[in-house]
């Protein structure tokens, strides 16, 4: 397959203000999303505790064809909580732009590199499959990004997530950046974009053309602010422009499944 879909409806999608899913809702949605043929489901953030942790555990226990991942900060406590849930993949995320490192974390680049290394090693030693998220990549220094990718790859991690956290990327520039990273580091890239200026699909497609093997999507594109890359629209564009079908069944089948999920989410759009 040219590109694999990582569905993040149950994590980034649910972060859309005003969305609150119960354990049962999340389990049902996970089943439907898996039936659509996605490679991986990012089920949530177990470190939130309570119902969130219970839902990730239950989803992991379903034994779905899709791999189940949990989102973590650079925290061994977060990672332990995810491992307790029995997920397939532990995703460790860190801001990588100077803006977010300084004003959000109140740290510096050295601290980020050290703590990414520390927590990645911790998770790998627990026999976890690890992916690393580079938040705000699109506003980060590209050389710093590449250094981090080199470090992460050397530790044994096979995939990083390039996140256009505030949706400011343009496709040609993104294509160029992904190419440069891939030219320097043979690590798989997972593209994660936001739709703040209506460029989520074009950016995800550009990243794919540059060699990204994974693309994050959500059902209906729901997510923070103007949302994420819309799953149905993206797979349709991939099929029409490349001939590759990356979903299960007919397109009408996945429209129907999207509608089932919208009913659970109580969405009327």
């Amino acid at each position: 397959m040219g590109i694999n879909i990582v569905d993040t409806t149950l994590r980034d999608g649910e972060q859309k203000a005003g969305i609150a899913l119960s354990v049962q809702d999340k389990v049902e949605i996970a089943k439907i999303i898996s039936e659509m043929g996605v490679h991986q489901i990012e089920a949530g953030i177990p470190a939130m505790g309570g119902d969130e942790k219970i839902s990730v555990s239950k989803i992991a226990a379903l034994g779905l064809p899709s791999k189940i991942a949990a989102w973590n900060r650079m925290s061994t406590k977060d990672i332990d909580t995810s491992i307790e849930c029995g997920v397939d993949i532990v995703h460790i995320s860190s801001p990588v732009s100077d803006l977010q490192i300084k004003t959000k974390l109140e740290k510096d680049r050295k601290w980020v590199a050290e703590n990414l290394k520390r927590t990645v090693i911790y998770a790998l030693e627990k026999d976890c499959e690890v992916t690393v998220g580079l938040e705000d990549s699109s506003r980060a220094d590209l050389n710093f990004l590449i250094q981090l990718c080199e470090m992460i790859f050397a530790l044994g991690v096979k995939r990083v997530r390039y996140a256009d956290t505030v949706g400011i990327m343009e496709p040609k520039e993104l294509y160029s950046q992904i190419k440069k990273i891939r030219d320097k580091v043979p690590i798989d890239i997972e593209i994660h974009v936001h739709n703040d200026f209506g460029m989520a699909i074009s950016n995800s497609f550009a990243a794919f053309k540059a060699g990204a093997k994974f693309a994050d999507c959500t059902i209906t594109g729901m997510g923070e602010r103007a949302g994420n890359c819309d799953f149905l629209k993206f797979v349709k564009v991939i099929q029409e422009l490349t001939g590759e079908k990356i979903y299960t069944g007919d397109f009408e089948d996945i429209i129907e499944k999207e509608n089932e999920i919208k009913k659970i989410l109580r969405l009327n759009w």
């Binding site: 649910e14 972060q15 859309k16 203000a17 005003g18 969305i19 609150a20 899913l21 119960s22 809702d25 939130m48 309570g50 119902d51 969130e52 803006l99 977010q100 004003t103 959000k104 109140e106 705000d136 956290t165 505030v166 949706g167 400011i168 343009e170 496709p171 040609k172 294509y175 739709n195 703040d196 200026f197 209506g198 460029m199 989520a200 699909i201 074009s202 950016n203 497609f205 550009a206 053309k209 540059a210 594109g221 729901m222 923070e224 602010r225 103007a226 949302g227 629209k233 564009v237 029409e240 422009l241 109580r266 759009w269």
Partner: protein, 352 residues
Amino acid sequence: MAVVMDGVKKNIIDRTIPNLVKKFQNFNNDDIAYFLKLLHETGIDLFEINRDSMDKIKKFPLNLDYIYRIENIEDYNYLNNYNFKYIILNYKTIYRFLLEDEKIQKNLKEHNIILEIDIEDLDELYLSEDNKIFCIFNIVCLRINNVSKLDFIDEDFRIKDLKSKFNVLVDFCASNKYYMATAIIINAFLNGSDIITTEFNSNDYAAMEEVIIALKSIRNIEIRGDLKLISKLTRIYEKITSERVYSMKPILGEDIFKYESGIHADGIAKNPKNYEPFNPELIGTNRKLYIGKHSGKAALVVKFKELNLNCNNIDMNLFLQDIREKSIQEKRNVLDNEIIEMYKEYNKSYQR
């Protein structure tokens, strides 16, 4: 002049009206006039209309510049309704007008023509040896139409080449068939296009609001218009169409500046730029903090301050737990009045 890049002024053509009249009926002239006025004040220079537009909207404001799209000979009869700045003729049908009577030909020749050509037909235009249409008509601009895909690799030499070969301005009009129209138009703008064509709240073309706010926020391009009017534009558009704009529509959607998740709330409190591509005040709106399942304690403290509630005597961890449970139970965020009620209950229990 709407947009200035490197000291060069470029124009924006709006083609909202032809699509509006295709989809809806019964327009209030005052609403349309107000809508166009706001678009103009936001930065739109030229308004494209067609015969259908003039049939359904009886009177267009006279202080704006219009472009008339002529598709059939019958459309010609409306040519003198307004003092059109440009006429759009399509490459595939322009020769039809050469066969018409001399009066029509003469009249058309007196106008500035935008020749609209699909990108697939550009090679034919290049290869055509006599190109007599450039001799017969006063073609001042080539509109490259139906561009639906973005080339990620090549340098965009073609725009400059077109300008020098045909001695014309270039306008780009993208198709949103593959959801790439906004990216295509921004790219064309940055690579020499003199004019770009957009539509407000568009699904079919590049969305005007996405393009101009992206140019402003991402590229720091000067937009000569009052972008704070975008919120008012959305309201009048909703009134004209009797439909709400999609709640997550980039730039216009009512949900796009609502936030709830603990990590985002914390990041925004420290510096809104952490999680906002532009300040909501740029477009005349503001951000709104929601409290719900994904809220953290810090956000709850902020909300308490906002509602003039005292954190003392409240176990905020327990309160947050209750907030999350209520949010899941209601399948939405917890409303301000509900937070106040919960707070009162907590205080009653404490006093017992």
